[in-house]
Symmetry: C2
Subunit: 325 residues, 2 copies
């Protein structure tokens, strides 16, 4: 057990969440939510995905969103892209977004084939192409990511050894480009992680790649995101992707396979209660979660927005004591 | 870290859940759910509360429920009562229910005054009365419980020392009656626990009362029930109260203050994935959770009933491999 003193929270709600919704969310409302999140003390916000609008209609307004948001200099605004074309779209916003290179591999070949129609080796080749594009654009490669790092709905459990192999390849590609890889994201894309496997994988990665900061990207599809995040904290992991309100999921049975991310405000609350600094304003985050719920028009899975944090009760109690004295 | 090899799960859904619902649930449907739960491999089920039907209309049919359920000899069926009158009602079902005495104290005086209009000392006196009633009826005292053991919405954080004092009083009352106290429930009645405080309190109780088996009764009002349960598991706690589907809570904003218990099937899934035996049949539990949702007529918070467990994927994968060989 080595709890970190502080954590850095990256809210992926505007990207994961709005991409997931069936109804088209008006651009102005997306901007409204991001502006709200900008004032919550988050380390970064993933604001849009530069993907094919035919494949992901919910992200067709990525440009308008990026152009429309009010930037807070204390927050890093992150784009996502999946290929060179998307990267070039993101590049136009280097003044607004934190555009850096990322080498992403998927630990499940079955998933990679279904999602991108690529084998492992085709995926590695594609990432080498991406790395070359980053170099050409003078964009530093800072991050690695392994998707489906714990398991896959099409392939089952993913062995730790395979993830370590993937990270070795990522490090190799980064070294080919003299890149200073800083962070490695382990993504539980299909919610196969449990606290024991989180501990095992994180431990193995820390041992083999002690210079990489690990970041966890957890989904709550099977109810274990918070417990997995706790296992991460207990291993000393400092970086977490989350989504406000648990955007990206929905407790309605109608939304089958709802796979909300670890909920930002619930996770921040847990950290703060355990004495781990998050930098966030919990009340502001709850207001943002309520706004997100209003925008998507259905309940979001996060609990704290209904349960309310404890600071107000503690303050009230302290005041009562003062009066009594 | 000393994960237990197995856990005993007590489903409190039929009591906590049906008590919480605004609409009156038909008795036959309550019986249907309990019968379904009886076939899930649970250690025990809390089936009804013998309380004043004027105060808790949802429990007015407690007698009919207890009389109507089909008993599975492998399951313990538990009643709840809050006073001598309720105990005497439960006593009539000693052939059907596991009727044993419990000494319960509330760690928050503010909550105790609001809930039962009793001070600490009045509460202790009332528990001594209860203990005498148990003796008179020849019912063994087996359990102690501290409610609001982590914090209180009216009083704030509860110091560990106070909970230890309460347990000392409980042990004292038990000794006065030559009782063999076996289990001590720490109830996070208002969802103030976090993994660090769970660890602290459980650790202190284990140190001071090494002969008592600790049982955790956790609420998910602020999204931390699963993480707190993990902290309990990591301390070696073997007994958990849960509720199927997360009955007792609701993700609708309309159900203000929804405080569902730790969800049975999500918790059992986490244990099984970590290699901790639960004895439960996950698929049967998920069917029960779906039935519970149908009965209450609104979404229940549990995730696994939508996310589905992983065994089926693993089996499918194993079959594919076999075919390939």
């Amino acid at each position: 057990m080595s709890l970190p003193k502080s954590v850095a929270i990256s809210d992926h709600g505007p990207r994961e969440g709005f991409q997931f919704e069936r109804a088209q969310i008006p651009t102005a409302r997306k901007i409204e939510l991001i502006n709200r999140l900008s004032r919550c003390g988050l380390e970064s916000i993933q604001v849009a995905s530069f993907v094919n609008p035919k494949a992901v209609p919910g992200m067709a307004d990525a440009d308008e969103v990026v152009q429309g948001i009010e930037l807070n200099p204390a927050v890093r605004y992150l784009p996502l892209w999946l290929n060179v074309a998307g990267f070039h779209r993101a590049l136009r916003y280097r003044d607004r977004l934190d555009v850096f290179g990322s080498i992403s591999l998927t630990a499940s070949e079955a998933f990679s084939r279904r999602n991108n129609n690529r084998s492992f080796s085709e995926n590695i080749a594609a990432q080498r192409d991406m790395a070359r594009s980053y170099d050409e654009a003078g964009v530093p490669i800072k991050r690695g990511a392994v998707l489906a790092a714990f398991g896959c709905n099409y392939e089952g459990d993913i062995p730790v050894g395979r993830v370590l192999d993937m990270i070795r390849t990522i490090v190799e590609i980064a070294e080919e480009h003299h890149a200073d890889l800083q962070t490695l994201t382990l993504a539980d894309t299909m919610a196969w992680a449990n606290p024991a496997s989180t501990r095992r994988l994180v431990g193995a990665v820390m041992e083999q790649f002690p210079r990489l900061a690990i970041s966890l990207h957890l989904h709550d599809t099977r109810g274990l995101a918070m417990a997995n995040a706790l296992a991460g904290l207990e291993m000393g992991v400092r970086h977490y992707d989350t989504s406000v309100g648990g955007l990206g999921g929905c407790p309605f049975a109608g939304h089958k396979g709802a796979a909300g991310n670890l909920c930002t405000e619930d996770f921040a609350f847990m950290c703060e209660e355990m004495g781990i600094e998050t930098g966030v304003d919990l009340d502001a985050l709850i207001e943002a979660a309520i706004l997100a719920e209003e925008i998507v028009g259905h309940p979001l899975p996060g609990s704290l927005k209904m349960g309310r944090p404890l600071a107000a009760v503690r303050e009230q109690k302290a005041k009562t004591k003062e009066r009594a004295v």
